[in-house]
């Protein structure tokens, strides 16, 4: 152990920040604050961030724990390729998203939290971490079993040459053996 994976923490933070933005936006719209456009933006930004951050990435070492039902999100996020794989992109994206939120009271908290998440993503990117999708385990990953193991052997097992197998007259001790059952000649 020893290497801390910052991206995992940043992911939790960004997801929570997305929810905070969403909640703040809903309160802003429902509470009939002025500047309702910013509140609507906050809702949209919150939903977007949640969708982006819902699928967890794969850990470098050890088992990765998926979030419930994240497979379809994983597929969507994976399809953007390097845009979603690279954490520098995510860091700047979150920084950009959180700025307009700072203009209304209701979204200030979400904005600050997303800003913190963006900083942690930056730290993760500097340490070279990347987002890898968690995909279901494929059967072909197992070592392929050779075909020859399924057929019965065609040849007898290898044996030493006939001279070595024959019992030697010089070495009676080694040649002799004791019958476990008494052997008698057939008298009938």
């Amino acid at each position: 152990n020893g290497k801390i994976e910052w991206a995992m923490w940043a992911n939790e933070q960004a997801l929570a920040a997305g929810l905070i933005l969403l909640t703040g936006g809903i309160v802003g719209v429902a509470g009939q604050f002025r500047d309702r456009e910013f509140a609507a933006y906050s809702i949209a930004a919150g939903v977007f961030v949640c969708l982006l951050e819902y699928p967890r990435g794969k850990r470098n070492k050890g088992t990765s724990v998926e979030r419930t039902g994240q497979y379809c999100f994983t597929v969507c996020v994976k399809s953007f390729g390097p845009l979603t794989r690279n954490y520098y992109v995510r860091a700047f994206l979150h920084a950009a998203i959180c700025v307009p939120g700072g203009f209304i009271l209701a979204a200030v908290l979400g904005c600050v939290c997303l800003g913190i998440a963006s900083l942690i993503y930056l730290a993760a990117a500097i340490r070279g971490e990347q987002w890898e999708p968690i995909l279901p385990w494929k059967e072909s990953a197992r070592k392929p079993v050779g075909e020859s193991i399924k057929l019965p052997p065609q040849n007898p097992p290898p044996r030493p040459p006939a001279e070595m197998r024959r019992k030697r007259a010089e070495d009676l001790e080694a040649a002799a053996y004791v019958n476990p059952i008494a052997v008698t000649a057939n008298d009938d």
Binding site: I4, E5, M8, W9, E12, Q13, A16, A17, I20, T23, G24, V27, G28, G31, Q32, F33, R56, R59, G62, V65, L105, A106, V108, L109, V112, C113, I116
Partner: protein, 511 residues
């Protein structure tokens, strides 16, 4: 599988009772505070100005006070260990409840987060109302300086939410398992959280009316008309028809958070101080033994150290990290004959295997370590315990793992045979990886090889057998292993097919 009411109550009853009490306390507090601000005479004018936002924000604040004070208590581990050991906690039931303390801590934590969201949202609405419904009639009630001004909300509230955000996002199961340090360091921000929490209410934005007898809310001043209200509306208010003797006077609410929070906070700080002082006396490592499958056994000596089987110690190794402390189960407790304590590496709590007449201990892999201490204790002397029969099931992936405690198991088996109690210990070993011919070939480990089975255990059959041979008894089930096994066992304990035998489930968690 049918659910048996009696088994369910025995296993789950206490836990659910505490849950119901806690929910009840929260609901009661919320409703009481809500109604106070909704109907209370001293808050009449404030309520008029702020509406529902006032009631919801204050009600959620009181629930937050309760949970912020409760959340610290389950973490006073030394205190809980002391309580478990004393005779004040006589029954088994109370001890099992204390084992659930971490779950309670998490429940309070989640409640704090949820109600913080409610509280902040309600205060946002309050901010707007303070600005839009600026009151010329009662200028001292206002927080805004003029109509339409939106004051920037208290900095303490923002800081609290940020700290809570950091703590909460770092405490998910995923992060605790992979990067424990992040969880530990952010969670220790709690002290900053509490300090800011105590000063949070000192601002005094919300005021109550001090003289509502002399000035019943809604009454009309003799030579002043309220341009915003008609005759009927003001007639509806509380003091209709009565004249005011004086102007309404307001005073800020006195902060009460410190009342709730300071007790548990001091208790917890005392607990941490106690742990720190105890940890300062040094420990000598007497022996290091290497076992197969990457397991190391450490034998150590520490002055005045006493422990019971099943307890764990927390180790700090300054050359690795001066701040980190990690828990390890004791596999050998110090006794009169042998003063050293031993660990094999991994975690968990103080169990009560000996308090049942019949116990079933299930270990998965390295999860056998807490039970090793139990076996050592039996080896020292088994007669004085209430325990009469122990079923010990150990499931491992590889055969080599059984060698960790092969000596101990065989020694206990031989001792019980010599002392004429062959049925005291029922040992079953399972190797779950089924490839290859596997056997324990050493002659001195014969008791183990004859009890070795290939494949996974059939739990239902085991439970039925235990039920048949121990009718009408209460069997303690102790599990330390992977979640799958513990879930299966928990489910089996709650079902009802066991001819009058009750199985009580006790589980330990790794982290």
């Amino acid at each position: 599988m049918a659910l048996s009411v009696r088994s369910w109550v025995a296993n789950e009853g206490g836990k659910h009772l505490v849950l119901v009490l806690w929910l009840g306390a929260n609901t009661l507090l919320f409703m009481r505070t809500f109604l106070l601000y909704y109907c209370g005479q001293q808050y009449h004018y404030l309520h008029q100005m702020l509406g529902l936002g006032l009631c919801i924000s204050r009600a959620s604040a009181s629930v937050l006070n309760l949970n912020c004070s409760l959340v610290l208590l389950p973490m006073c581990r030394s205190l809980l260990t002391y309580l478990r050991g004393t005779h004040t906690v006589r029954s088994r039931k109370a001890r099992r409840l204390l084992d659930k303390s971490k779950t309670f801590h998490m429940a309070c934590g989640v409640a704090i987060c949820v109600f913080s969201v409610v509280h902040v949202s309600a205060h946002l609405v309050n901010m707007v109302n303070f600005s839009v419904r600026y009151s010329e009639e009662f200028p001292s009630l206002n927080v805004a300086r003029y109509r339409g001004e939106v004051r920037f909300p208290g900095i303490t509230g923002i800081l609290l939410v940020l700290i809570l955000f950091l703590m909460f996002t770092a405490s998910s199961y995923c992060i605790r398992v992979s990067n424990y340090e992040i969880f530990w360091y952010t969670h220790n921000l709690f002290i900053v959280f509490y300090i800011i929490l105590i000063v949070h209410v000192v601002g005094g934005a919300l005021k109550y009316q001090t003289n509502f007898e002399a000035h019943p809310p809604g009454c009309l001043r003799a030579n002043q008309t309220n341009p915003d209200k008609t005759e009927e509306e003001s007639g509806q208010a509380e003091g209709d028809g009565r004249s005011c003797r004086e102007e309404a006077r307001f005073q800020p609410n006195s902060p009460e958070t410190w009342l709730w929070v300071s007790g548990p906070l001091c208790l917890y700080c005392a607990e941490r101080l106690y742990r720190y002082i105890r940890s300062n006396s040094p420990v000598t490592i007497v022996a290091v033994v290497r076992h197969p499958c990457d397991v190391i056994e450490l034998r150590m000596l520490k002055k005045d150290f006493k422990a019971h089987p099943g307890q764990y110690i927390v180790l700090n190794c300054p050359s690795v990290s001066s701040f980190e402390n990690h828990p390890f189960t004791l596999t050998a407790c110090p006794t009169e004959k042998k003063e050293t304590l031993g660990i094999h590496l991994r975690v968990v709590g103080d169990w009560t295997v000996f308090n049942y007449e019949v116990s079933l201990c299930v270990a998965g892999g390295i999860g056998v370590t807490p039970f090793a201490c139990v076996l050592h204790a039996l080896l020292d002397g088994w007669r004085h315990f209430r325990l009469r029969r122990l079923y010990f099931v150990w499931v491992c992936r590889e055969l080599q793992s059984f060698y960790w405690f092969a000596e101990l198991l065989c020694a206990l088996h031989h001792k019980l045979w010599k002392e004429n109690r062959p049925d005291y210990l029922n040992l079953q070993l399972f190797v779950s990886q089924t490839d290859g011919l596997q056997n324990i070939s050493e002659e001195r480990y014969r008791p183990l090889s004859s009890r070795l089975m290939i494949g996974r255990p059939r739990w239902k059959l085991l439970f039925e057998e235990i039920g048949r041979t121990n009718k009408h008894k209460r069997v303690g089930v102790f599990c330390c292993g992977p979640k799958g096994i513990s879930r299966t066992l928990h489910r089996l304990c709650n079902s009802d097919r066991y001819s009058g035998t009750t199985f009580e489930f006790n589980k330990e968690s790794f982290s």
